[in-house]
């Protein structure tokens, strides 16, 4: 009983914290995004969750190329809470021989902390040809003494923004699915060793609820991907593998239904369950590593890596996983109790 209450309490806390904690201030975009060498321009910077008018001077703005070549802004002015204007003088020469130079934007202030926008501005030579390299003017400034925002906030990730909160709702679905399938396999093993019908009912029940959470995970993932990756189905390897996992367990239920004798059905289904779990689950975690490691890039790795999960987020993430798992176990036990009652009724 206590674990059901703790499931509800944990989930309530996760909902509260997950939805109410604000994100760190961050930059969304900057204009103009292409300038010519030798130009002097005013960069308009847009922020999210920023409060530029209350920023503490000095607000330092840099345009950085590969961390070494730095352009410091001459004058910085806050237009409103989310807009900042910084004046830059671009040298006529490039630091390295190139016709086009991508620059990252760094904005630092004591209250905001350090904010980054990668590939914000591109220095493009008008004629398209390579400009001579002379990096003396690019080494005048340095990016240093960056501040850290110590508030309890969540990471700001470009394109995702608030949807990073899905970490507490979409990702735990997979964890719950895994746990439920693992329990299902465990009871299949028990059934094979002892021919216990209850164990078989448990295996089927856990598999069914695991399938439910898997489908929820897939569907919510498609919704999230639609607004961050551009399309609900992008042939991402992890999407494919989890869809394959769901197909396997759907086939499990079809297998159960296609035998006439219940004992044979239970035993064969138990064997398939073990085979499917033991062969599929390592593959879900091995194959994506092969493919995503050979295709690095934005869409290759759908699961956020360790750097994106800062300490604050983890503080809410682990309870979320625990809460959702307990809820999943609760629903699974309900299902199992139902099927056991059903069988007892049939026997009578």
């Amino acid at each position: 009983m206590w674990w059901k209450i703790s499931a509800v309490v944990l989930l309530l806390l996760v909902f509260l914290f997950g939805l109410l904690v604000p994100l760190y201030p961050g930059l969304t975009h900057a204009a103009p995004d292409t300038v010519a060498p030798g130009a002097s321009f005013v960069l308009q910077i847009q922020g999210y969750n920023t409060f530029f008018t209350r920023a503490e001077a000095p607000v330092r703005v840099w345009l950085v190329h590969e961390g070494r070549h730095v352009l410091a802004s001459g004058s910085v002015q806050a237009v409103d809470e989310v807009t900042l204007e910084a004046r830059f003088e671009v040298p006529a020469t490039m630091p390295v021989p190139a016709s086009s130079l991508p620059l990252d934007l760094v904005v630092d202030d004591r209250l905001h902390g350090a904010m980054f926008l990668p590939n914000a501005v591109r220095v493009q030579s008008l004629s398209g040809e390579t400009v001579a390299a002379a990096d003396s003017l690019w080494r005048l400034a340095e990016v240093r003494d960056l501040h850290r925002n110590e508030d309890f906030r969540f990471t700001h990730i470009p394109i995702n923004y608030e949807s990073i909160r899905n970490l507490y709702f979409h990702v735990p679905m997979w964890m719950v699915m895994f746990v439920l399938f693992l329990l299902s396999m465990w009871h299949s093993v028990v059934h094979l060793r002892t021919s216990d019908a209850i164990a078989d009912a448990r295996a089927a029940g856990y598999a069914e609820v695991g399938l439910l959470f898997g489908m929820l995970g897939l569907v919510t993932g498609m919704l999230w991907a639609n607004y961050t990756w551009g399309a609900p189905w992008s042939n991402d390897i992890k999407q494919l593998m989890t869809a394959a996992a769901l197909l396997v367990y759907l086939a499990y239920f079809i297998l159960r239904a296609s035998f006439d004798e219940p004992e044979k059905s239970a035993r064969i289904a138990a064997v398939y369950n073990i085979f499917a779990f033991a062969s599929l689950v390592p593959l879900i975690y091995i194959v994506p590593r092969i493919f995503s490691s050979l295709h690095p890039g934005g869409e290759g790795n759908p699961v956020f890596n360790r750097e994106d999960l800062n300490v604050n987020m983890r503080l809410v993430f682990y309870p979320a996983v625990l809460g959702w798992t307990l809820l999943g176990l609760w629903i699974a036990r309900l299902r199992i109790r139902l099927s056991i009652l059903n069988e007892q009724l049939m026997d009578r």
């Binding site: 939805l19 994100l23 394109i159 439910l212």
Partner: protein, 78 residues
């Protein structure tokens, strides 16, 4: 029944952008950016909630049927 209504809901959710003129096809238009994509989180939570509720309703129906069967058996033997 569960699968049908989830598919319907999913279709609405995923394709509503087609008849909202201010949201472009990629979904990262001004509307979404303005709200910081909190709508996606709300959508995800709603989907999960709906899925769980539909499943619980299905369980509830099965339980009701079971109870009726028990009652019938009870009546037949008494």
């Amino acid at each position: 029944m569960k699968f049908f209504s989830r598919r319907l809901f999913l279709t609405i959710v995923l394709f509503h952008q087609l008849y909202l003129p201010e949201v472009r096809a990629q979904g990262s238009g001004d509307f979404m950016r303005e709200t910081g994509k909190i709508g996606v989180v709300v959508g995800v939570i709603l989907l999960i909630f709906l899925g769980l509720i539909l499943y619980l309703v299905r369980l509830d129906r099965k339980l009701t049927k079971l109870e009726q069967q028990i009652n019938d058996q009870h009546e037949r033997t008494h």
